[in-house]
């Protein structure tokens, strides 16, 4: 190939996306916002996997298959997560994550 594009580029991209997602997941008050930040992080992982698939094991397709599973699970997670959020916000009348602290001491 000899291309200028090597895995470092994609890993850099995915690291940046992951960091952004993490920032969102840690700093947002809104529960849904946290949820979508987590989706960003998952996406970053997917980029990583697919990049490795292309550059390291193109024949085995392991990376892509992993990514497919991650997308599947993520979809399920978003569905369940949203259901939980709706159920919680009905009972607790809040969507601020810091108010959901009844598991503390």
């Amino acid at each position: 190939m000899g291309t200028g594009l090597n895995p470092s580029y994609f890993i850099g991209l995915s690291a940046a996306l992951f960091a952004i997602g993490m920032y969102g997941a840690l700093s947002k008050r809104n529960i849904i916002s946290v949820l979508i930040s987590i989706e960003l992080m998952l996406c970053a992982v997917n980029i990583n996997l697919v990049a490795f698939n292309k550059f390291l094991t193109p024949d085995a397709f392991l990376g892509q298959i992993f990514a497919i599973f991650i997308i599947t699970v993520a979809a399920a997670e978003v569905g369940l997560g949203l259901a939980l959020i709706i159920a919680i916000s009905r009972r607790r009348e809040t969507n601020n994550l810091d108010d959901l602290n009844w598991l503390r001491w």
Binding site: A25, S27, V34, L100, N101, W102, L103, R104, W105
Partner: protein, 644 residues
């Protein structure tokens, strides 16, 4: 038949033991039947014991070599215990005496205990006692003997506390057990020493081994220590100073018990035990001196207390202590013969006096103070005159039994003194003075109880035949029982002795002294308590020597000292230990728990319940760990890959 009896001597203790089991498990509901079972068994034992005695005392071989047979009880490498039977003249005599006295007292008890709700149980206990006492006598092994020794102690405990509703009985029982326990502790140590040093507890083997004690690596000092430790057991059991305190209190039990256990049989077990192990004591003159000194001192000490006591049974109890002191003294000066002889005669006259006292108490409904009695001999002739026989015997008036045995003790003590033991003269003086005191306090009691004016408030009546018959038998024994051991025809000394038989010449001088002392005592008692109807002189004497009187009446405050020691020192230590336990030891335990709980309490505030904070910490940790791994250690960095 003689052969059978000799070879089946274990039947003697076994029969009462069976009676105990039968009464407890089968016949407890039927009172007459229970007593019948018990008496039949004891009489059976008596018959066998008589045959054994006949067999032994007709065969001179047994003097030199005792009949021993045994079987293994339990064992392991280096420690084997056999139990068995050891018959020699001493044990045969004891078997005969104990089974005879026990039979008589059981017959007596059918009258004395009549109407008691725990009648059956009483006979069960008596049977158990009989079994253990007879077992003790025939034991061929020190451990077996110790077991029986403790069992008689248990029976004594149960019987002293027989009237369980009485607090005094309960406390007396406890005291008896505790005091003897202290003695047993020493005795146990002695037994352990013997087992460890000589590798056996078998009496025959020990008798062979101990004279060669140096071959077993035992020094004379150690052997003395062993002997003294071992002596603690008899000191407690036979009521020797300073562990005599339980014996007078033990009179809380029913009177037949006092007669059987605390006069005739169990308390002499200590004397018997020392007699049995005399082979040990003759090796250690130091220990012998201690035995003799304690014996003589106890004799005098108890007699000094007895002269001021008021309760009839207490006087008898102190008299028992005093007479036991005589026996110890005889052993201490090395005469098994004299000691056993006094044991033999004492058993009869002391049992007689206790039973007669019981008869009096029975008639007066347990009024015990001799000052409240008087003139009883008219209403209770059999009781009274048999008591007088006992009094003559114990005071040492010839030809009654006590005279011969007491005289024998005085003789051997004198001989001991003459053989270069300066201590002997002191002992002799003490013994002689005790003889005078004995005659005095015993006749003081007799005069106060049976002679003098009758008290109007008492309505005495003679006891039933079941009680008087044993009195008569015992009175006969107390009269003539000593004739087998007179200095002129000392059959006794021929059979029962230790070491070489020596025929002491009749010491007429000593006999005369002893008779004079006895008569002086009786005379003094007569002057003070019988002739003088108002007892003015006696009262005046007591007032004039108030401090001495109080000292004697309060038993030299020994009990108070022990009570103080137990309550303050022992219980105090116990409380301190307990507080140490719950505040210090437990404090550490609870302290550790408190630290755990406290740190948990502090740390739980880290648990904010905020997921984002957790996640923040989580990622931060990952970052830190990664940095540390990547840049901290080159070897770890290589694991991370890539970073060179």
């Amino acid at each position: 038949m003689v052969e059978f009896a000799l070879n089946h001597a274990w039947l003697v203790p076994l029969l009462p033991a069976l009676a105990f089991v039968i009464i407890v498990f089968l016949t407890q509901r039927w009172k007459r039947l229970s007593s019948l079972v018990s008496i039949t068994a004891m009489l059976g034992s008596f018959v066998i014991a008589s045959i054994i005695a006949y067999g032994v005392f007709t065969n001179h071989e047994f003097i030199e070599k005792s009949l021993v047979y045994s079987l293994k009880w339990f064992g392991m490498e280096g420690f084997n215990i056999n139990v068995g039977v050891m018959l020699d003249p001493t044990s045969s005599m004891m078997l005969f005496m104990v089974s005879l006295v026990a039979s008589l007292i059981q017959i007596y008890s059918t009258g004395y205990m009549k109407g008691d709700p725990q009648y059956s149980l009483f006979f069960a206990y008596l049977s158990l006692f009989g079994a253990s006492m007879l077992g003790l006598i025939i034991s061929s092994n020190l451990l077996q003997l110790f077991v029986m020794w403790e069992l008689v102690g248990l029976c004594s405990y149960l019987l002293i506390g027989f009237y369980t509703f009485k607090v005094s009985a309960r406390e007396a029982a406890k005291k008896a057990f505790m005091t003897t326990r202290i003695g047993d502790f020493g005795m146990l140590l002695g037994i352990l020493f013997l087992q460890i040093k000589f590798g056996t507890l078998d009496l025959v083997e020990l008798a062979a081994a101990i004279p060669m004690f140096e071959q077993f690596g035992v020094s004379l000092g150690l052997l003395t220590l062993i002997a003294l430790l071992f002596f603690m057991g008899p000191v407690a059991k036979s009521g020797q100073f300073p562990l005599h305190v339980w014996l007078p209190d033990a009179m809380e039990g029913p009177t037949p018990v006092s007669a059987l256990i605390h006069a005739a049989t169990m308390v002499v077990a200590g004397v018997y035990l020392i007699g049995r192990t005399l082979f040990l004591y003759v090796q250690v003159p130091g220990a012998m001196e201690v035995v003799a000194a304690i014996g003589a001192f106890t004799a005098l000490f108890a007699a000094a207390i007895a002269i001021t006591q008021r309760e009839i049974k207490r006087i008898l109890a102190y008299s028992t202590v005093s007479q036991l002191g005589y026996m110890m003294l005889a052993l201490g000066v090395g005469s098994l013969s004299a000691s056993m002889f006094h044991l033999w005669t004492h058993a009869f006259f002391k049992a007689l006096m206790f039973l007669a006292a019981g008869s009096v108490l029975h008639a007066l409904h347990n009024k015990a103070d001799v000052w409240d009695m008087g003139g009883l001999i008219k209403k209770m002739p059999i009781t009274g005159w048999t008591f007088v026989v006992g009094g003559l015997a114990i005071a040492g008036i010839p030809p009654f039994a006590g005279f011969w045995s007491k005289d024998e003790i005085l003789v051997v003590t004198m001989e001991y003194a003459k053989h270069g033991h300066a201590l002997g003269y002191v002992l002799f003086g003490m013994a002689a003075f005790t003889a005078f005191l004995t005659a005095f306090y015993m006749w003081r009691m007799i005069f106060l109880t049976f002679f003098g004016k009758e008290k109007a408030e008492n309505h005495p009546h003679e006891s039933p035949w079941s009680m008087t018959a044993p009195l008569i038998v015992l009175a006969v024994m107390a009269s003539i029982g000593g004739l087998i051991g007179t200095p002129w025809a000392n059959i006794w000394g021929e059979w029962i002795n230790f070491g070489e038989v020596h025929h002491a010449e009749p010491a007429l001088g000593l006999m005369l002294l002893s008779v004079i002392l006895a008569l002086a005592g009786i005379g003094l008692a007569y002057t003070l308590y019988c002739k003088d109807g108002e007892k003015k002189t006696a009262r005046k004497l007591a007032e004039n020597y108030q401090s001495l009187y109080q000292l004697s009446y309060n038993k030299f405050y020994i009990d108070e000292v022990y009570a103080w020691f137990t309550q303050k020192i022992v219980d105090g230590t116990a409380r301190v230990t307990y507080y140490f336990d719950i505040y210090f030891v437990d404090g550490i335990v609870n302290g550790i728990a408190a630290v755990t709980r406290g740190s948990g309490k502090g740390l739980r505030y880290l648990q904010t319940g905020s997921m984002q904070t957790y996640a923040l910490v989580f990622f931060l940790a990952i970052l830190v760990i990664t940095v540390v791994l990547a840049f901290g250690s080159p070897s770890l960095a290589s694991i991370m890959g890539g970073v060179k």
